[in-house]
Symmetry: C2
Subunit: 258 residues, 2 copies
DNA sequence: TTTTTAATTAACAAATTGTTTATTGTTAAT
DNA sequence: ATTAACAATAAACAATTTGTTAATTAAAAA
């Protein structure tokens, strides 16, 4: 093999190179649907899409015109795909410290009719406050939030149906198996606020039950009760606040209960 | 944004394109260290590396010569990175149906001195039988298996230290949170064989304890007892055999015990 | 003052786990 | 033939955690 390997490794010119390298971002947000006073919120997980213009900048018919797509752009040769995602999103939203995670590469030949273009896909979590603002201020009819329950029914550009489907699966997993939920919550949150975030992606009865969840939250090693502070955001009665502790959690499926 | 977006999306020529797109593979295997008769095995998780040649095919000094590296090669324009990984590995090993999973993209500017080369990284699980054979038959001094405990101490080519470190973390997670362990085991396996696989990546006392693990395995929904078949591979006494059932498992960290 | 409601505690049966001790069935040694 | 050794696993039981239902608390609203 070492010969074959050597050839492969060094004869760059023999191989066609890609026509483009893009970074695409599935922007997720959670909006509180009912936000009445003294009530725990009801939340829905949404993804932001842009509507592709009918005509391009030179007035010609656009590729995949009028379809919904995830935002993205070309990666520059002095940055990583991750940095490109971060740059584009922070330029766009004027928010820094956005949670972004790379989750997949999309490189199927023919996926983009314009050439051999490799997409590095990310998901991001953006506070709903920004996105509502953004939409109002811009009157941008070409931006919309879609519930993850509906989004896959749309007519989506390129292979974005695949990408979005994967993104939804990845964020669902991450919400349940990491502490990424903290990016949807204030620094200090009540048990019912965390519960509302998790309900957007699970029906687990142990999470749905108020009694079980409010008891369980006290014994989770990655969540700490905030001493001496309460809120009445979700209830007339003062409610305890919790905060996430930074740590890795790895619970084997072999030791869980079923 | 729709204007800026439009520009980015359509003006392909404005952007430099990558000089190469490669598919790299971290090949893992588990070797049974002590394989005495009637004893449960002791296993070690290993990664296969190749030693880069000192000179290239034209007799010139090689880049990153004599360093250890993960195998890989250029992706062709009619295949995906995943297919390239599969193709290379199956060509190489003559085994089909190898478990391969994409886990990361490595695209940091300067990571490869030969140009802007994007690496799509995968891990694969290959039976130890092949790799031992391969090594003996070829007398290939340029191929070696390294324990995951030692491999990061080596002098590794390019950014392969990063890639291998990530691969180890990903396979550790997958071994504990998915049923990927089945790729290291025969179709029907004993509790102590599964236990030995898991021990290569965890110290969890509930997995280490024979009594607990042999009791627990009976109640796991993704494992089924094989009726009417036993083995004496691991014990003088006939031992029950189990098999994995295909299913997704998603256990929230919020419902686990700590 | 009473009603309403979210948060929380209480209480208890049911299920699971940690742990220790015994049993089983075989091989290998005496 | 007997016994020692040993992996597998069953038995037993206390400790812990869960599911579930009921009760309590505190503040707004009627």
């Amino acid at each position: 093999m070492s010969n074959k390997q050597a050839l492969k490794q060094y004869d760059i010119k023999k191989y066609r190179t890609p026509d483009g390298y893009t970074s695409d971002i599935c922007v997720f947000t959670i909006i509180s649907e009912k936000n009445e006073a003294y009530k725990p919120p009801t939340m829905d997980l949404k993804i932001m899409l842009i509507k592709r213009a009918g005509l391009d900048s030179e007035g010609n018919m656009n590729i995949e015109a009028n379809k919904w797509a995830i935002p993205g752009g070309f990666v520059q040769d002095d940055e990583t795909g991750f940095q490109a995602a971060k740059r584009e999103l922070e330029e766009e939203t004027n928010i820094s410290g956005i949670h972004i995670k790379q989750f997949g590469v999309y490189d199927k030949p023919g996926r983009d009719p314009r050439g051999w273009i490799i997409s590095n896909a990310h998901y991001a979590i953006v506070p709903d406050t920004y996105l509502s603002l953004r939409k109002a201020q811009d009157d941008a009819a070409d931006i919309e939030l879609f519930s993850i329950k509906d989004v896959l029914k749309l007519d989506l550009a390129f292979d974005h149906e695949q990408i979005i489907g994967d993104a939804i699966q990845v964020i669902t997993n991450d919400l349940l198996q990491t502490t990424v939920a903290k990016n949807f919550l204030p620094e200090n949150f009540t048990y019912s606020e965390l519960q509302a975030v998790l309900r957007t992606v699970t029906d687990d009865p142990a999470i749905l039950s108020d009694q079980s969840f409010s008891r369980k939250i006290k014994s989770l090693p990655f969540i700490q009760e905030v001493q001496g502070k309460t809120t009445t955001r979700t209830s007339k009665r003062a409610t305890k606040l919790y905060t996430f502790i930074e740590m890795d959690i790895l619970k084997p499926i072999y030791t869980a209960r079923y």
